[in-house]
Amino acid sequence: MTLPLPDSLRDRVGLGWRAPLAADILANLDRIDAVEVIADDYFDAPARDRQALRWLGRQVPLALHGVSLGLASTAPADVVRLDHMARLVADVAPWLWSEHLAFVRGGGVEIGHLAAPPRTEATIEGAARNLARARAIVGSAPLVENISTIIEPPGSQMSEAAWLQGVLAATENGLLLDLHNLYANGCNFDFDPREVIAGLPLERVGYIHLAGGKWVQATRFPGRRLLDDHRHATPLPVFDLLEEVARRAPQPLVVILERDGDYPAFDELLAELDAARAALARGRAARLAETHVIAPI
C-alpha cells in the first residue's frame, strides 16, 4: 500500500489568476494547487481588492509575479516600483514573489514588454545589484524567471545557459524556470533546452511555468520565430521538458500554467493541468527507478 505524500513533499500544479478565469478557478480549487497573480495589476488596487487577494492566498498558495521591475539591467532598479511591490507583498502576504530576468526600459524610454538584456558579465553584476536592492526594499528575495526572446540580444558575449548560471551563481535567488521560454529560445536560436536544464542548479527551482505560443513570420527580413504569447496550449515537447526536470530535481515542484487570452473552455485548461501532473509523475517514477537500482543477484 502506498501512503499519500504530505503536502510539503508533493508536487503541485496550478494556474495563473486572470479575471476571466477567476470564477472557474474558485469553483475548481480541488484541482488547482496554487495560483499566480500578476502583481502589477494590483499596484493601483484599492485596499478591498488587496484584502481579497490575501483571502485567496489563505485558500490556496499564491505567488505574486512582477512584470515591470526590469531587474536584469546595468541601470539601478526603480525604487518607486520596488516600493509598490513591497507594499503589495506586505498587504497580501503571498507564498512568494517573482520577477523576470529582463530589462524593460532604458534612458527613460519604456519598451512596453520584457526584453532580454545583453548577456554579459556587466548585466550579471547589474542583476545581482538590483536583486539585492529588491530584497532590501521588499523584505524578501524574488524568484527570478528566465525569459523568452525573439531577438538574439545584441552585445551578448555568452550563451543563455551560461548567463543564467552566472546570475544564479552571483545571487542566492531561487529560479522560476519557464519551460516554454526555454523551449521557444531553443527553437529560435538552435540549442537543446535539455542541455540547459542539465547545467542548471535545479535544486534552486522554486516553481515552473508552462505556456504555449505561435510562430510569427517576419516580412521585411527572412525568417520566423516562435513567440511565447500565452494564448495557445502547452506543446508536447514542453511537457517532456517538465518530465526531465521532475526526473532531475530533488525537491517538490510547483508548476503554474500561464494563459493570457484566447481562453478555451475551462475543462481544456484543467486537462492541461492533468497533463502536467502526468509529466511530473513520469519524471518522478524515472527518478525513483534511477535512485533505487536493484543489485543483480
Binding site: 532604458g106 556587466a122 526594499i137 525573439i150 552585445g155 551578448s156 558575449q157 513567440l227
Partner: protein
C-alpha cells in the same frame, strides 16, 4: 560591453519606430551619434534583423495596449497613480535617510 547607455540605445531601437528606421538606414552613424563605444557599435552592426523586426512588432502592440489602458483610466486613476508614486518616493527617501552610512 553593456552599459546603461547601451541599454538606453536598445530601448529606443525597440520602441521608437523613427529611430529604428534611422538606425537601419545608417547603423554606424546612428550608434556613434548616440555615443556608443566601438565594441557596442560593432555588436549593433551584426544585429539580428529578423529578431529586431519581430520584437519591435510585439513591443509596439504592448505599448499600444498600455497607452489605451492609461487613456481609459481617467483622471481619478491618473491622480491615484501620481499620489501613489509620490508617497513611494517619500518612503524610500526616508528609508535611505535611515540607512547606516559606511
Amino acid at each position: 560591453m553593456s552599459s546603461p547607455r547601451f541599454e538606453a540605445f536598445l530601448a529606443r531601437l525597440y520602441a521608437d519606430e523613427a529611430f529604428r528606421e534611422r538606425f537601419l538606414a545608417a547603423p554606424e552613424a546612428v550608434a556613434e551619434a548616440f555615443g556608443l563605444a566601438p565594441d557596442e557599435r560593432a555588436a549593433l552592426a551584426a544585429i539580428d534583423l529578423t529578431g529586431l523586426e519581430l520584437a519591435a512588432r510585439v513591443f509596439a502592440r504592448k505599448l499600444e495596449y498600455k497607452a489605451e489602458y492609461k487613456r481609459r483610466q481617467g483622471w481619478r486613476g491618473r491622480w491615484r497613480r501620481r499620489w501613489r508614486d509620490w508617497l513611494a518616493r517619500l518612503r524610500q527617501l526616508g528609508n535611505e535617510g535611515r540607512a547606516p552610512r559606511t
